[in-house]
Amino acid sequence: MSWHRQASSAICAVLILASYGGAAERFAIRVGGVVMPDGTVTGPSLVTVVDGRISEVRAGAEAAASGGKVVDHPSAVLAPGMVDVLSGLGVIRRGSHVERVRAIDPDLSIREAIEQKHDDFRAALKSGVTAALVIPAGNNVIGGAAQAVRLTGGGGVEWLREPGPLMFCVGQGVLEATREPTGMIGAVHLLREALTAAKDSKGSSRVNAFLKSSLDGLLTCDEEQEVIAAARVFTEGGRLPLLAWTPLEASAAMELVKPFPDPLIIGPFTLDTPARVLRGAGALQQAGRELAFAGALPVLPGSSARISAALAVRYGMDAAAARRALTINAAKAAGVAERVGAIQPGKDADMVIYSADPLRLDARVLEVYVKGVKVHDASLE
């Protein structure tokens, strides 16, 4: 009897281990729909994962698995894991993302400040966030390098790329009474100086690398005027970074963002965001721009980017474009789109199974996979 019990508990333990750990070499997930790279949702499909990567996406309810275990979720929707853009995961609670001694400080790297086993990572994972672009706070005109991380099953992170993109900021946050710049003119001036020096390859190595396109750049702004000034200075420098800016009035936004490349990073929106701001996303998308939603965890909850997407859709954004903004475009903004952000053969199997279309806010996160390993299962909670 006791042997029996032991054996059965041992079997249980093995089963649990198998369901969580150990790189499953080959398995397939059968779902009611898949969020495709173009943002549409297909019908019933079978997605095969081999060695932590997506190897095949086959449509049709009858698609047969070619060997290996099959996870069945006939009414669920499979989507790429979300990438939390403009993230504070692992740094914010300790205040380690704030540095305001030098306004031009390109050699800083937020990577050194990330607490790799921070609780916030585990919480984010449960919400379907499998990667994040952790950024330094916008207190410096050039604030150093951001860091893209992957959230792993053990509650930690791994680096998804080399440090980058380089963070630029022209906004109220960079102004200090105790050092330059003390006003917006000074901020723009400092930025121009740094870019001009780099143009002659006399600047900091990272700013040089940005202008030579070997390092990405990301600019954050608050006000329209800052976007206009920054666009002028970067145009003079010869290269424009990605822009993270949430227009307060949709009408003028299109003109202002024209010089900046896709995707435009917008949001985060909350349930309190006014309608005129919510309309901005739809207006930019209707004008042909690709967007990516910022999540801003852990200041906002794990579903933050989904809330942004759902509200943007309510206020005029196309649903497929919003799903792209939630997945592949967020990955592009973080500079990790070759690895993650789409359910596509060759991509890492960082995926989330939702009870419904992730644009619906009543869709629950059922399971989360990172590199083909199940790291969260709501039914076991």
Binding site: A275, G302, S303, V313
Partner: protein, 571 residues
């Protein structure tokens, strides 16, 4: 009553006409009947009252979906719902095939339309609707675009007792006005001040409890006053009778009589008794007063005491009132002096001192008699207190109470308050309900949750232990709960459905968020005639381009109380 009756009648008439129509050859009759039905509509509901939304997909709010049905609107109510509902000849109809009609969303915890912050200032008589801005058109349009048609709004602002909330329909009023009160004084609001530091929260709770206790005392003093007044009136009457009798006696009997009583007191009583058969106790002492002259004091004492016993209880308060009124020594005259002794048996042991006073008075002669008559003081009426009247309504369970509490200790204090005063209460917010769910369940207090979307980054504020699983914990403890947008902001008030969706999803609940903000919210507010689509229900209807739960669906038209309040095509 009339409305229900007519719609029933109109319905049955159209039913008959349908049947006759199918049997053919009764065209005239049919038209006549239809006209009759319309005449009834027109008569009772005014022109243009009848309206039919044709062939829509109908989400009823109570869990059913009818793939194709028409809805007729009569006045402020739904006339009928069904596959071939017709409105009659004069009815306008609107083709809605491919569209989905759902009940308007109900927000049981909102501040939509209440644009002035801090509507309540710790005053129970404040009414939230006084802060309602009926011309905030963009706020209301935004609410309509998201399907909201009915809200519960409460006074917000400080901590403590804040005033009363109201249920408001976003219906069209005069001109551009939006909003009409469905239920005024829907609940008395108390905010436990969970956002305050600990000492301030203790003070808030104590102040609230004191307010309720004061209200109870206030009621007691009113009741005392009433019985005193009764007693007083009785006394006055008796005295008048006595006086009349006395005078009659005086006239009838010569002075010689007076000498008789002085004998023994016992006799006095016997002689008195027949005279005032109506228990003329109070006047007696006064009569006695002159008599005692030269008499031994002892016998005197005895008679007044028993006589005065009955009036004592009221007098005790009476004397207080008299003392307050500054009547001074007069209050001490025998009649008044003894009642306190009756109030407390111990005091009666020490009731001797007043007697000598009583003994002194007679010395001043008959003039005193007149004075004494004035001394029957009219009891002081307690000052009316409307604030306390509101609290008493709550104590009598005629007015529900809503208590906003976020921290677990504040929730437990709220439960204590509810228990002490037997309140009909609802908890608002209840961020830490998951920590004390069992206690809430045991007390059978319903909860209305607020904003579901909070970040992980919180300081030591009232939301520091916000848990996504709060709703699940309430479910487990069998607590009746609803979810509103919370009173965080005016703008948040439009995303009622989204907030409910987030609440359910975060708690891992698979129940329908739409039902939560329609039928369940209506039931929670005690509005059986709202939140669902059915015959006789409120005609608060939203026409969507697709399923309301799909974020891509757009609101095309909104009816509140049967009138179009929003039309996307007209924008």
């Amino acid at each position: 009553m009339t409305r229900r009756w007519t719609s029933f009648w109109a319905g049955s008439v159209s039913g008959i006409s349908r049947r006759m129509g199918s049997s053919r050859g009764a065209g005239v009759c049919l038209i006549a009947l239809a006209l009759l039905a319309d005449a009834a509509d027109a008569q009772f509901f005014g022109l243009g009252g009848a309206m039919v939304i044709k062939d829509a997909r109908v989400v009823t709010g109570d869990g059913r979906v009818i793939e194709k049905a028409s809805i007729s609107i009569s006045g402020e109510r739904i006339g009928d719902v069904g596959p071939d509902v017709k409105g009659g000849l004069l009815a306008k109809s609107w083709e809605a095939s491919g569209k989905t009609v759902a009940p308007g969303f109900i927000d049981p915890y909102s501040r939509l339309g209440v644009l002035l912050p801090g509507a309540g200032r710790g005053d129970p008589t404040s009414k939230v609707f006084d802060a309602w801005d009926p011309y905030a058109r963009d706020v209301f349009d935004d609410a309509f675009r998201n399907g909201v048609t009915l809200v519960y709004v409460g006074p917000r602002g400080g901590a403590g007792v804040l005033g009363t909330g109201a249920i408001v329909a976003l219906s069209k009023g005069e001109g551009e006005r939006i909003g009409s009160v469905v239920k005024e004084e829907a609940a008395l609001h108390i905010n436990m001040g969970s956002g305050q530091p600990a000492i301030a929260r203790i003070n808030t709770f104590n102040a609230v409890r004191r307010q309720f206790r004061d209200a109870v005392e206030y009621r007691n003093s009113i009741e005392d006053y009433k019985s005193e007044l009764e007693e007083y009136e009785k006394k006055i009457k008796e005295r008048a009778e006595k006086k009349a009798k006395e005078e009659a006696e005086k006239k009838g009997k010569p002075e010689g009589d007076k000498k008789e009583p002085p004998k023994p007191d016992a006799e006095k009583k016997s002689t008195d008794k027949p005279a005032p058969p109506k228990d003329g106790t109070p006047p007696k002492p006064k009569e006695d007063a002159p008599k005692p002259k030269g008499d031994p004091p002892k016998p005197k004492e005895d008679p007044p005491k028993p006589k005065e016993d009955p009036p004592k209880p009221p007098k005790s308060a009476d004397s207080d009132a008299a003392a307050e009124a500054g009547t001074g020594p007069a209050a001490n005259s025998e009649g008044d002096a003894s009642p306190p002794s009756g109030e407390n048996p111990l005091l009666s042991l020490f009731a001797d001192p007043p007697k000598p006073e009583g003994g002194d008075k007679p010395a001043s002669g008959e003039k005193k008699d007149e004075k004494k008559e004035e001394e029957i003081k009219k009891p002081g009426e307690p000052k009316p207190d409307r604030d306390k009247d509101v609290l008493l309504k709550a104590i009598d369970r005629k007015l529900p109470v809503r208590i906003e509490a976020h921290r677990s200790e504040d929730i437990l204090n709220a439960l204590d308050l509810v228990k002490e005063f037997n309140l009909d209460a609802v908890l608002e917010g209840a961020t830490e309900a998951h920590l004390v769910a069992d206690a809430i369940g045991e007390a059978k207090i319903p909860v209305v949750l607020g904003a579901a979307s909070r970040g992980e980054l919180r300081g030591d504020d009232e939301f520091r232990r916000f848990a996504a699983a709060n709703a699940a914990a309430l479910d487990k403890a069998k607590v009746r709960w609803a979810v509103g947008s919370g009173a965080g902001s005016v703008a948040g008030g439009r995303f009622v459905l989204q907030n409910a969706q987030l609440t359910c999803a975060a708690a891992g609940l698979s129940q329908s968020a739409l039902e939560l903000v329609t039928r369940r919210a209506a039931d929670f507010l005690g509005l059986e005639s709202a939140g669902r689509i059915g015959k006789g229900q409120r005609a608060d209807l939203v026409v969507w381009s697709g399923d309301p739960s799909d974020p891509a669906s757009k609101v095309e038209r909104v009816y509140v109380a049967g009138k179009v309040v929003y039309d996307a095509a007209a924008k």
